[in-house]
Every structure is written in C-alpha cells, then in structure tokens.
Symmetry: C2
C-alpha cells in the first residue's frame, strides 16, 4: 500500500505514485496474458494523467487524505484510456497514432483493442468500488460520467442533435459530454474521497466544469495552431474533417479571451478553499499554457 | 415503481416485469437518440432472459423481496447484451445474425454498435448501484464477473492459455469465465439483494456455478445436433471453426450424462432452501430440455 499524506508532495512525486498505482492495478490480476499486455500498452503509454491529478488534488483541496482518492484516480484514468482505445478504432476515428506511438488496435489487432477497452471499463468500476471513503458515490459518479461521455462520442461521431440546436450549442453539448463529464467526475470523485461537505463538493464540481471547458477550448486552439510534430497526431485534422471547434465557430481571439475568463472564474471558485487548493490553481494555470 | 412480492408470480408474469424494467431503464435517460435506438435494439430484441430470471429467483430462494433484485436483474441482462453486441463485431466473431435478426452492427453500423456496447456496460453499473439492499456487493460482483467474462472472451478468440493446459482444461477455463462468470454472478447478486446469510450465499454461488456449466454443456450439445433453423444462426458453426466443445472433447453420450449429474447436484444444493427455491429447480429442469 502506498503511504501518502496530503500536502507533502511535489507534482512529480505524485505523478510517480499515480504511475505505480496504474501498473499495480493490472499486474496482480488473473487476466488472460494477451489482455494484460494490451491493457498495459493502452494504460501505461504515457499521457499527462490530468484526470487522476485533478482527482487527487481535489481530495487534498477538500482536506482529505490523498491516499483515499488513489483508487478513484486510477479508475478515472482507466476510463480515459478505455475511451481513447475505442475512439481510435477504424470504425470510429480511425487513428493510427497516439502520443507518437501506434494506437492499441494497430499494435494488438482490433479484436484485442475492443476487449481491452471493455476490460478497462469494468476494472475501473472495480477500482472505484474499492475506495475506503465514499465508494458508492465515487462508483456512481464514474458510471454516470462514463455513460455521458459515450453519449457525447455518439453525437460527435454520428450527429443526431436536437433540431433547434445551432452549431455553437452543438459544440457546447458535445464537449460538455465528451470531455467535460469525465473531468468534472474526476474532481467530484476526489471530493467524495475526502468526505467533502455540500459547499465544497458544489464548488469543486463547478471548478471541474470550468476546467473541462477550458481544457477543450485550449485543445481546439492547439489543434488549430500547432504543428503535427508537437501534437503526435495530424494537426488541423479536426478542421480538415469539418469538425466544429471553438476557434472555427468563435474565432481564435475570442477563444483565447475565453480561456482567460475561465481562469478568473476558477480563481473565484477556489478562493474559500485556501492553501490546500494551491495545486488546483497551479493546474489551472498549467492547462492554459500546455502543449498536447 | 413495480410492485413485486415474492412467491406470487408465474414465470411469464415475471418475464413481463423484466421486459418492462429493461424498457424503462433506457427510455428516461438523457442519451443521444441514436445511442438509445441501438441500445434498445440490442437489449429488447428477445432472448430468454435467463440471467435476470436466475437473479430474481435466487433472491426469492434466499427469502428476499424480488423487487429489490430487479435493478440487479436488469444490470446483468445489460452486461449479457453488451457482450453479445461486441462479440458479434466483424473483428471478433463476425456474426450477421442473432436470434433470427440482423446483429447490432449490421443494423446500426460498427461505430454505433461499439458505443452501444460500451454504454450498456456503464449503464449496467449504474443500475447495480441503484439497488436498495447490498448495492456495493452487487456492483462489485457485476464488475468482477464482467472482467472475468472479457478475459474468457480473449482466451476463446485469441488463445494464450498456460502452456501445460490440455484441451479439456482449456475448454473448462473458457467456459467458466466466458459463460459461467455471469451466470454465477446473477445468482450471487440475487442473494445479495436478499441480504442472504453466508450459507445461503455459498449454496447459491455453487448452484450458479453448476448452472453455468450445465448451460454450456447443453449449448454445445444443441450446437452439435440442431439445425440452423432452430438456432437462428449457423448450426455446427463452432465445430466448423474448430472450436472446442464438450461433445467434441468428451463425446455426446458423456455430455448428456454429465448434464444429468449436474442436475442431481443442483437438487442437493437447493434442498435446504425448501419451497422458495422451487422456481430454481424448475429452471434447472428447463435448462436441460431447452432449445436455443
């Protein structure tokens, strides 16, 4: 068992703990060997671990013990990994490359990629249920946000919006569901693991929504402006496919201004939480300046 | 809310309640319309509802209120439906026909079939968590058995057995995981919803394992002996694909004899549970004489 206490970690140390927890989750399970290999490839192949870090830092901001949020942090990253594996499949986004590596179906075949994604989802639920504090809330949050994310992926891939939705509304709905739901859930799961009171839970929920939106706007801006060398996948691909993005609908200048507004809003929400919320302020700042 | 009390239902009435509960589960959710349609197609397209009926009858056999097991019954059928949708995909079993109808990916396309399967899995977890009694145990049971089933599907589709396993051992491992895990879980979830004591839980667990094995042996016998008209899919397909079956490894006569032994064992396990276990006895009997 990891020994973690709140407030005593650098970001890098915490990231190392998350990586170890992710490795540990699969290593000792009685799974078919090929399934383990495909899951590990999908789960341990890098990534910034934004969602688990949000989860852990929200737990700390709610004055909880980070250790209690670790299974939730692992669970939310597994859901993220599941969604990437399935979204990359030929029938969906048909991506060969992710983070500069072959996608899971390219490396392991389509059958195993489908099943590895499925297993990531169900093992994530096992993980969420293993939390010592708030496991029922945490598991429920994980399941509902996963369903919402999948529904958002259907809208993004296949359309089918309510008829009176204009493009800006369609964009907002897709992102709230597809990206936002899981980021919001990461924050709420952290709060539940801290047994947060209603005000703190509500505050971290709204902060999570703000981060989800900011994450997406920044993502869209990066997609529009960075070269494919930086992105590890084809830049401008969303635009080339005719997908809606914030810069496309609202312009780059508006999008950049919007990120600043969201950052201000984040600060207002975190103010009453004081010093333990400092890592969240740092993360918000980092998200605005990140590369992919 | 359904008003259900134990012991007062014919099998047909209970089946009707299960069907309504399945319809109700999707109808009121805020999901993308296309996703709803694909899920409903996969979930409401017939089937004998063996797993939900096992779950409800096990709840009653443990002297619980069937009403409390209904969300668990719905959840286990959703997991079953998810597994069929994904197993039928071109990259896996590549089946065009199921229960005499086009499979989900043929009717809705591969992208939507993948996502509908994913959503069935996550909504099933939501359902399990909504049980009023034993929800933590029920959700954990659902998640672990789903993971086990997926691992079994990997072995069945892609192989990768421990090196010292002979064909009979390979067959047993596949079936215990691929079919058995979910049937066992259905029984245990029903017991948890009844807040069963340790002896009853253990008894219904072993009974579920016995049923899972019997279900598979009968399935293999049917596959070997029935025409495709009865099966709604190509008969003898497993044999044609070189898949291991009980009749293939042990012979038809041995397989039929084994079914009788399992039925005897079932009766011994249920004896102490008395009259409330009568529907389980009837189900065991029915499973031995079923068609597909």
């Amino acid at each position: 068992m990891l020994e973690l206490k709140t407030h005593h970690f650098t970001n890098d140390e915490l990231l190392t703990h998350v990586e170890r927890a992710l490795e540990h989750t699969i290593a000792n399970r009685p799974l078919a060997q090929k399934l383990k290999e495909a899951i590990n490839y999908a789960l341990l192949g890098g990534g910034k671990r934004v969602r688990p870090m949000l989860c852990l830092h929200c737990c700390a901001a709610a004055r909880g013990d980070i250790q209690h949020a670790m299974p939730a942090a692992v669970a939310i990253e597994m859901i993220h990994a599941f969604s990437l594996v399935h979204d990359d499949l030929p029938a969906l986004d048909n991506d060969d490359l992710r983070r500069g590596r072959a996608t899971t179906h390219v490396a392991f075949g389509e059958a195993l990629a489908i099943l590895a994604g499925d297993a990531l989802l169900s093992i994530a639920m096992e993980q969420a249920l293993s939390c010592k504090i708030g496991s029922a809330h945490i598991a429920h949050e994980l399941a509902t946000s996963t369903t919402e994310m999948i529904s958002g992926q259907v809208l993004d891939t296949l359309g089918g919006f309510p008829k009176d939705f204009n493009p800006a509304q369609q964009l907002e709905l897709i992102h709230r569901q597809k990206t936002g739901a899981l980021i919001r859930a990461a924050c709420r799961m952290g709060a539940y693991a801290a047994d947060a009171n209603a005000d703190t839970l509500d505050r971290l929920t709204r902060w999570g929504e703000t981060m989800g939106l900011m994450f997406q706007v920044v993502d869209d801006i990066l997609d529009e402006t960075q070269s494919s060398e930086h992105l590890g996948k084809s830049a401008g691909k969303d635009a080339a496919q005719g997908k809606m993005t914030y810069p496309k609908i609202h312009g780059i200048a508006w999008s950049r201004e919007h990120v600043k507004e969201l950052l201000d809003h984040s600060e207002q929400l975190l103010k009453p939480l004081g010093e333990p919320a400092q890592p969240l302020r740092d993360m918000a700042q980092l998200l605005t300046t990140r590369t992919k």
